[in-house]
Amino acid sequence: MVSAALAILETDEQRNELADFYKINKNRFYRIAYSKLHNWEDAEDAVMDMLERIADKPNNFYALPNDKRVAYATVIVKNIANGMLRNKLKRSTESFDEYNEIISEISIEEQFFNEEVARELMEYIRAMPEALKDALLLKILYGINFSEIAKALGITETAARKRLYRAKKMIEDFLEERK
């Protein structure tokens, strides 16, 4: 798997761009991973795993504008750290991916909110489970497709669709309760 990832970065330009990106932001990524894992070796591994995932599917990364690449990589490294923590603690957490539901389209992207509602919605989203929040960020904020979200988060495409659906459903329910 690692050797397959190694072959994907095709040009020197891509490699150098990713190397520069890493150099500038490595401390940030490390701190994010460390905040979850509280172990420097695991945190470094999480950062390296994140780079491997980007290198494995570099088109998403290079298609993003520079200001969004950091956020994209941040979500990935945080998810990796969470996964490592779950494995370490052998903690079973709610698995959003196994929730059997009929996924229908929920459209909330086109809505606009006044100041008060926007503030409350922001706090509500911040308190959402991270797995759902990340799917929301990657799909709506960064416009990444499900196949690529799945790769970034290390899940199946179906699981990615389910997470986004649940996140949108939660927002929809929140807005409905406020009325």
């Binding site: 490699r15 490595k26 940030r28 470094e44 606009f112 909110f113 006044n114 911040r126 709506i140």
Partner: protein
């Protein structure tokens, strides 16, 4: 009015605000090795590997290569009795072994047969050098025979418009310089005869200069 996209952007900013301006972490050697494998796997060309090296390390490596090359050139030249240091536009020539050589001119050399068309012009004798000058009657160009003590000997030869070549005079290592400058002698031979550094220069080809060098005799 605020869109969902704007709200999500603010969510991200607030969630990760504590990680702005993080303290520096020195990644372990293990992680740095892994990083290199991710970015520059073995199948990539040497050019990509070079790019992975930091600028500071590139400079250090380049300086080391230059130093080794210089040492190599010096070492090769030293085997000939003359050491050489290549500068940008000249070659510095010095002697590698001056031990037990006379500190003053104790005996002098002369050219037993003066070349056709040349006549003796001048001789300058000092304690550490002896110079004999012949002049071509037709062109006015000079031919010199110079004998110097080995101690502190150093000469600089143009390497932009001249070629330095290893030669041998009576079993002693020497150098031949062919110059393209028209206002200087076109050929010079220098060699170390164990006691002194001898030099013959003039508008002659290498073989002719070698004949002159091999024919020099010690004055009675």
């Amino acid at each position: 009015m605020t869109s969902l996209t704007d709200i999500l952007g603010e969510v991200y900013r607030l969630d990760y605000a504590e990680f702005d301006n993080p303290p520096k972490h020195l990644f372990s050697h293990r992680s740095r090795k892994r990083l290199k494998k991710i970015l520059y796997p073995k199948s990539v060309s040497c050019k990509a590997d070079w790019r992975a090296v930091s600028p500071r390390k590139r400079i250090i490596i380049a300086l080391m290569i230059i130093a080794f090359m210089t040492a190599g050139i010096t070492a090769v030249a030293a085997a000939n009795g003359f050491g050489r240091k290549e500068h940008r536009d000249n070659t510095e020539v010095f002697l590698t072994n001056v031990e037990n050589s006379p500190k003053t001119i104790e005996y002098m050399y002369y050219l037993p047969e003066i070349p056709d068309g040349y006549s003796f012009n001048e001789r300058i004798s000092e304690s550490t050098a002896d110079i004999t000058i012949y002049t071509c009657l037709e062109t006015g160009r000079g031919m010199k025979i110079i004998q110097r003590v080995k101690e502190n000997y150093k000469s600089y030869f143009d390497n932009e418009h001249a070629l330095l070549e290893d030669i041998e005079v009576n079993g002693h290592k020497g150098l031949y310089l062919k110059s393209n400058y028209t206002d200087l002698a076109s050929g010079i031979i220098i060699w170390d005869n164990m006691d002194y550094v001898l030099e013959i220069s003039g508008d002659f080809d290498k073989n002719t200069l070698l004949e002159f060098a091999r024919s020099l005799k010690i004055r009675n």
